[in-house]
């Protein structure tokens, strides 16, 4: 905070031409603070390195921002500049000077203080490496008193253009935010929300961000920060989690209030009071376990806050159990009584109950996520043959080709040979010097030819698919002179059907398999394939798939040795 205030006062007083702010955790927050703190004092233009991905966009954003011009649809989305100011750096500098001169007003002929805040300058470097160096010298090139402020997660040393063409910045390091800073930020956000009239409603139905609840919110925030601070110290992330949980947290209080109002009916002047300490403690005890769940779901954005809040709404019975709502509102009073009996029996009833609740919430979570089509587990959404193909592809991706014969080769003395060979191989796997080879499963899938996939698929189906072996009994002899009584012959026949190729093509179009050769057709057996990124190349997913099929996957993976 201190260093941020320092920057603000520096920009206000007399900024150096180039300031570089390194904020490893939350540059967004820093920029917001910077903009809000110096809004009315200087003219500050915020440039996002992600959205300004060409020089033209960059120039236009700066000029429009400086002139506070907003392109409107009715005027044909014209930019500020009269002529083409965005075709080169020269024209931009020229337009910048003209613009600055037009901003100069009054007798002193002094323009406003101008600062350009560039977010994600590393993106500028990636997209247009030539532009970064002139931008650090913008004040010098344009002969104006302006200042360029770059805010980045990376260090200047990693971004700096070569040959010393950029001038050295004034460095500012933003420290990692402490708990106090985060709490302060969240409370400020709450106050802003409670002033916001869109959120506010009539006096009878208070909203969750009512200013009366500030003390309660503070208490809540302390708990949230306590839970989350170990894992993340980004104020925005914690704010997100808090926003997802807070309405649910305070809902019992609001409900109770509205019920009171209803009961009172005529006289509307029931004051909305902040909940008592005891109620607060009960609320805390009830909701605290769900906070760590929220962290695990929301911090990696496995779901969004609204969905999560809906999935984790507390039902009336569990609320009543914790004494958060009056028991007469609960339908099934019987169950309630049972619970109270249980409560009497157990000396510390809170524990088993909370764990049970978490389980319920987890179930709810799973249900809510399975609403969405694309998160359906593969074992449900794919046909059986495709599942076999995926398992085979995983095995082909993760095992070296020379091990195929050892794992799947079937001769007279198959068992013996296989075991011994495996053992010897394992012993040889660790060379005398140098680090052991990284298991394939950690370094990602390797490509394999289609031929190999078909072969492994055949072996898998032959050994593990009861449906395929059933067919042996039926004695219809095909025309090609194939004899299905020979072991493996039928499977061989099955896995070379067109349907298999079609399934592979379908899996490829689903990007569960990835074709690494460029040809469009699935013609030759030499087409190289690979497991797709994400689910089909994760061990856990394929393992569950294999379990459903009855394939002993751990036995079929060559190198299962864990690292470290």
């Amino acid at each position: 905070m201190n260093s941020l205030n320092e920057v603000v006062s520096l920009v206000e007083l007399f900024p150096p031409p180039f300031i570089f702010i390194n904020d490893p955790i939350s540059p967004k927050y820093t920029i917001q603070y910077l903009i809000s703190a110096s809004e009315d004092k200087i003219r500050l233009v915020h440039i996002d390195g992600t959205s300004c991905f060409t020089p033209r966009l960059l120039y236009d954003t700066i000029l429009n921002g400086l002139s506070q011009h907003r392109p409107s649809w009715d005027e044909g989305c014209r930019n500020w500049s009269q002529e083409t100011a965005n075709d080169s750096m020269d024209s931009f500098l020229r337009a910048l000077k003209a613009l600055y001169a037009s901003l100069c007003t009054g007798s002193s002929n002094k323009g406003p203080r101008v600062a350009l805040v560039i977010e994600k300058p590393e993106r500028l470097k990636e997209r247009m490496p030539d532009i970064l160096a002139p931008f650090t010298r913008l004040a010098e090139l344009s002969n104006l008193e302006l200042s360029v402020v770059m805010v980045s997660e990376a260090r200047w040393e990693d971004i700096r253009p070569p040959f010393g063409s950029a001038i050295d910045p004034y460095y500012v390091d933003i420290p990692v935010p402490t708990k106090e800073v985060i709490i302060e930020h969240l409370i400020k956000t709450f106050e802003r929300c409670s002033r916001d009239f869109n959120l506010g409603s009539t006096s009878t139905t208070p909203h969750p961000y009512d200013s009366v609840l500030l003390q309660t919110y503070k208490h809540f925030i302390y708990i949230v920060v306590d839970v989350c601070y170990l894992y993340t110290n980004d104020p925005h992330e914690i704010q997100y989690i808090a926003a997802a949980r807070w309405p649910g947290f305070i809902n019992p209080v609001l409900d109770a209030h509205s019920m009171n109002v209803e009961a009172a009916e005529d006289d509307n002047d029931i004051e909305f009071e902040r909940p008592s300490t005891e109620l607060l403690l009960r609320l805390t005890r009830h909701f605290k376990p769900s906070l760590s769940l929220a962290l695990e779901q929301l911090y990696p954005r496995l779901t969004n806050a609204a969905d999560w809040a809906r999935a984790n709404e507390s039902d009336a019975s569990s609320l009543a159990r914790d004494g958060l709502i009056l028991s007469d509102t609960v339908m099934d009073d019987v169950e309630e009584e049972e619970d109270t009996v249980n409560e009497m029996l157990f000396s510390s009833p809170s524990r088993p109950r909370s764990s049970k609740r978490i389980q319920e919430q987890k179930v709810a979570q799973d249900l809510s996520s399975s609403d969405i089509k694309d998160t359906l587990p593969l074992s449900v959404s794919l046909p059986r043959l495709s599942q076999f193909i995926l398992v085979a592809a995983y095995i082909a991706s993760m095992n070296p080709p020379k091990t195929d014969l050892r794992l799947f080769g079937r001769g007279t003395d198959e068992k013996k040979r296989r075991r011994r060979a495996t053992k010897r191989q394992m012993a040889n796997a660790k060379p005398k010097s140098g680090p052991a080879k990284i298991p394939q499963r950690f370094s990602g899938p390797s490509p394999f030819p289609l031929e190999r996939l078909i072969a492994i698929l055949g072996a898998l189906v032959e050994e593990n698919d009861p449906i395929a072996s059933e067919g042996i009994s039926s004695q219809n002899v095909p025309a090609d002179g194939l004899d299905f009584r020979i072991p493996g012959e039928r499977t061989d026949y099955e896995v070379t059907r067109v349907g298999v190729y079609a399934s592979i093509a379908q899996l490829t179009s689903l990007r569960l398999l990835v074709k690494t050769t460029s040809s469009d057709k699935l013609d030759g057996l030499s087409t190289m394939l690979k497991c797709g990124s994400g689910a089909p190349s994760s061990y856990e997913t394929i393992l569950s798939l294999a379990k459903g099929l009855g394939v002993p996957l751990p036995d079929l993976i060559w190198d299962t040795a864990a690292m470290g």
């Binding site: 063409s165 370094s443 690292m563």
Partner: protein, 641 residues
């Protein structure tokens, strides 16, 4: 300051006995309040009982000699500077703490300048009835002096100005004073920051030995003078390290010329190809010369934009075909008519080395060819080309035909300044000429004195010396002072050496990833996993491997759960998704650097990364973080080597 003072006075109120004593020797409580300049203040722990301590007579005498006669006019001034406290009206005899702070800060060897006297008088004013206690007071100072560290605190010019009308005047001034100082301070800060951006020209101390920059200046102005007055064609290269005053030199030379020439400033950073350079040149020409004087061709080139409208406006990088639309032969003839203009022309090429990268160097060739063919005494006016660069090998980068047209003159600037010079420059920057800002005269006196103190501090001197021996760049020197100046508040309005030290640490030799130890738990886990993998011989890792390492570590610590005071001190569980989020954070902070670019086919958890943090730094930051389970992880990782 006001707050602190209030606190101190309150504490005195609590103990009436102390209060009476403080009337006798006013300095005591103010020292004990702990001034903002703690580093220099003598030990504050002297009990008030020591006041009647034995002090040798000769010391007293020295002090007495230093006591300046007090002109009566100062008594008027004091009104403005005393910052009234709520308590002051009730207890007028309460001493101002500031008096002692200042007194401490004064170097003993310096003569008490008038301003200092004024200053100390102002603050020391409120003592009236303690004349008799003077020896005691001085004894106090002497006594304080002994236990202090080096540098020794100065013996303050003691103050004993009786002011009969003190209390009423103070009442009158009560309202606006602190505000007044604040305002002056803000003005002063702004002026100093401005001066730091525009450092003054260095002048060497002795006339016998001229500095490199002065020689360069002289040479260059001779050259440009020849062009401006005698119509010569000149070319030269101005070489010097960054921040050595190249641009400053050339601008000064041009401003000293008797006749104002046409000056064209181009920069290799902006004009990245010949076409842009040519267009900018014609634009600048047409803005400086009346259009009638311009020959047809150049006017045409300046209005070239009509032709360029044909370009596809959505093309961001002009293609090669567009660039060639200005034919090089055409360009040559355009530049050749520059000397026929009404006034001599000077072309300044900043970042000259970048111009040599242009294809076939045709722009440079045209310029230098024109220079060479510009004969003195002819009809033509002078034409000079000055290249400015910091790269020493620029001459080698010129093509043969370009090089043969270049005069080969190289003028060097240097950035080597001595520590004494640096001190002078610093003083000039810190005490700028305040023309625009209305700063209270009194305040500026005090400010100047405090700058003197600041520069006299041995730590300041050491930092300045270091700065001069590492780089003579004035800009980087000036940058050191930005943060100390910014941190001035009305509570601590003077520069201190400790703040300079702090700023030198962040601005000069920057520590790599100073914030590592404050990172969150998952990030540190990942860093430690990298540490362990590095010990195992894997310099580059995928996320899957890192996750495996972390998971193993957590599993190992869960096998033998250790509890300390009821809390488990094992490693906290961390889900894969949370770790992945932390991993992506570290990537965007460029702590983990990808070895290959992102690809469509490879999953992001299988991309290989290397860690840009040094092993030692990881170790240190984990130790500094002090998380017990992480320290254990570290020990295990170190053991696995």
């Amino acid at each position: 300051m006001a707050l602190k003072r209030k606190a101190s006075s309150n504490s005195i109120q609590d103990s009436p006995s102390k209060r009476t004593r403080s009337k006798v020797a006013p300095s005591t409580p103010s020292i004990a309040t702990g001034s903002p300049r703690k580093s220099r203040a003598p030990k504050p722990s002297v009990p008030p009982n020591d006041l009647s301590d034995n002090s040798s007579d000769d010391e007293l005498n020295i002090i007495d000699q230093e006591v300046p006669p007090t002109p009566s006019k100062r008594s008027k001034r004091q009104v403005h500077v005393i910052i009234p406290t709520p308590n002051s009206s009730r207890r007028p005899a309460f001493p101002k703490p500031k008096a002692v702070q200042f007194a401490d800060a004064l170097p003993s060897e310096s003569q008490p300048s008038p301003s200092k006297q004024a200053r100390s008088n102002n603050y020391g004013k409120p003592r009236t009835e303690d004349r008799a206690a003077h020896p005691l007071l001085q004894a106090k100072f002497v006594q304080l002096k002994t236990p202090s560290l080096t540098p020794p605190p100065a013996i303050p010019p003691p103050i004993h100005v009786p002011s009969p009308q003190r209390s009423p005047s103070r009442h009158a001034a009560k309202g606006n004073l602190s505000h007044h100082v604040c305002e002056s301070l803000t003005f002063q800060k702004r002026a100093v920051l401005r001066a730091l951006q525009h450092p003054p020209v260095i002048e060497s101390e002795d006339a016998s030995e001229r500095s490199t920059n002065e020689i360069a200046m002289e040479k260059l102005s001779d050259l440009l003078d020849g062009t401006a007055t005698r119509g010569e064609g000149n070319s030269c290269l101005l070489l010097g390290p960054r921040g050595s005053g190249k641009t400053q030199t050339i601008e000064l030379c041009i401003s000293h010329l008797k006749e104002t020439p046409i000056v064209i400033r181009l920069s290799g950073l902006v004009q990245t190809n010949d076409r842009l350079a040519m267009r900018e040149l014609s634009r600048q020409l047409s803005s400086q010369v009346s259009p009638a004087l311009l020959p047809e061709e150049i006017r045409g080139a300046a209005n070239d934009e009509s032709l360029e409208d044909d370009d596809n406006p959505f093309l961001d990088t002009p293609t090669e075909a567009v660039e060639l639309s200005v034919p090089t032969a055409h360009m040559h003839s355009l530049i050749a008519c520059i000397p026929t203009l009404g006034r001599p022309t000077i072309v300044i090429l900043d970042a000259f080395d970048l111009f040599t990268d242009h294809p076939r160097q045709s722009f440079l060739y045209s310029l230098l060819d024109t220079v060479q063919s510009c004969r003195a005494g002819g009809r033509n006016n002078g034409f000079a080309v000055v290249g400015v660069t910091s790269r020493m090998d620029t001459l080698m980068a010129l093509e043969k035909r370009v090089k043969s047209r270049f005069s080969g003159r190289m003028i060097r600037t240097s950035a080597s300044i001595k520590a004494s010079q640096a001190k002078n420059i610093t003083r000039a920057m810190l005490t700028p000429f305040m023309e625009d800002y209305k700063v209270d005269e009194e305040f500026s006196d005090m400010w100047n004195a405090s700058v003197d103190d600041f520069l006299a501090d041995p730590r300041t001197t050491r930092i300045l010396e270091e700065a001069c021996s590492i780089t003579g760049d004035i800009r980087s020197l000036a940058r050191l002072f930005v943060s100390p100046v910014l941190n001035l508040k009305s509570v601590s309005p003077w520069l201190t050496a400790s703040q300079l030290e702090l700023s030198a640490e962040t601005q000069r030799i920057r520590p790599e990833f100073a914030y590592l130890h404050t990172l969150n738990y998952p990030s540190l886990c990942l860093l430690l996993a990298f540490y362990q993998a590095d010990s195992d011989g894997y310099p580059a890792l995928t996320f899957e491997m890192l996750y495996e390492y972390v998971r193993n570590a957590i599993r190992v610590s869960a096998v033998a759960p250790v509890q300390l005071r009821g809390n488990s001190i094992g490693m906290v569980r961390c889900s894969r998704q949370v770790l992945l989020a932390a991993f992506e954070h570290l990537i965007s902070a460029q702590i983990f650097v990808s070895l290959s670019g992102p690809s469509v086919n490879a999953g992001k958890n299988f991309l290989k990364y290397r860690c840009s943090v040094d092993r030692e730094d990881v170790k240190k930051s984990v130790e500094r973080n002090g998380h017990s389970s992480l320290t254990k992880f570290l020990r295990r990782a170190m053991g696995s080597r």
